[in-house]
Subunit: 196 residues, 2 copies
Amino acid sequence: MPTDAREILPRSGTAFTLDKGQTLTVIDPRGEQVADLLAFARDDVREVISSGRTFDYANRIYLTTGDVLYSNRSRPLLTIVEDSVGRHDFLLTPCSKDTFRIIYGDADPHRGCFGNLAAVLAPHGVTEDMIPIAFNCFMNVPVDGATGTFTVEPPLSKAGDLIAFRAEDDLVIGLTACSALQSNNGSFKPIHWRID
Amino acid sequence: MPTDAREILPRSGTAFTLDKGQTLTVIDPRGEQVADLLAFARDDVREVISSGRTFDYANRIYLTTGDVLYSNRSRPLLTIVEDSVGRHDFLLTPCSKDTFRIIYGDADPHRGCFGNLAAVLAPHGVTEDMIPIAFNCFMNVPVDGATGTFTVEPPLSKAGDLIAFRAEDDLVIGLTACSALQSNNGSFKPIHWRID
């Protein structure tokens, strides 16, 4: 772990501010671990990254270095400036009690990335209904273009792989070490992050 | 036009309530015309259809008869009960002033489906920031699974084609005749709808 990096424990999350021009680096220290990322405009957290607006302007559902994450108000919030993996997901919502109940059949489900994000973002004025589709760093969701079916496969990230984002405005960030077994090839691992 | 159907004029939109158990049929009367659909829980319009939650549970980005549109709270809001086309989009946001400015380079852009939906949904308590990715009836967005790139192609719908939804709760519906040239093969046409 680099001396200036911080750790998110397995199945947990954190929130922090990121100033315009700063770079957030999200690191997968052990490999095959997803990190759900949300970014809100700090001045008005009703403005948040939007997969739909981002796809509209990128003409691509898989994003990498050079791509911009747009808000629901069509403003750039983050630009991907480095990416050693090249495969992330922006289709699926943060895992939740409902995810685990409906998909996994869990009787007493974990609160998941959704619950973790809701808890850490509440002090910033973000309510559950304001949590959209996250940018799921390292999540590997290949889509069959003919049928539209997709599967959740092990991340392509290896130990030390990273993705870095430049803030295009003053932001509130929510970030997790993902809590869904299938997304992380069957084990829960930490995530590291750093601001430069 | 069936006697009991209503018409949405080209490049406009409407909102109405739909009761649990009722069926909404969206008809493309001339062919190759997209209709953006939104559904909100009438008791609390902060609950709205979610592409991400829907994809989570469907494991498919192309939806058709039998598929359920889930809300951001993981509750079923609509079930597709009939579909004579089989290709719709749930990836992209309603076209807007920003869409037309950024993608088309329009100097004085139309307010688009986004502006139309915001106007007709405002009396129901829905603000602009509460408008998510719409279910875009008849919109044809093939995705290349290898690269993730997509294109907006002419709809596969022919005159009289339709898609029908059963309401799984009491809802507020927003519905448009889409305003983007590319989505509608270069011309703006009406949309018809009916409640049974």
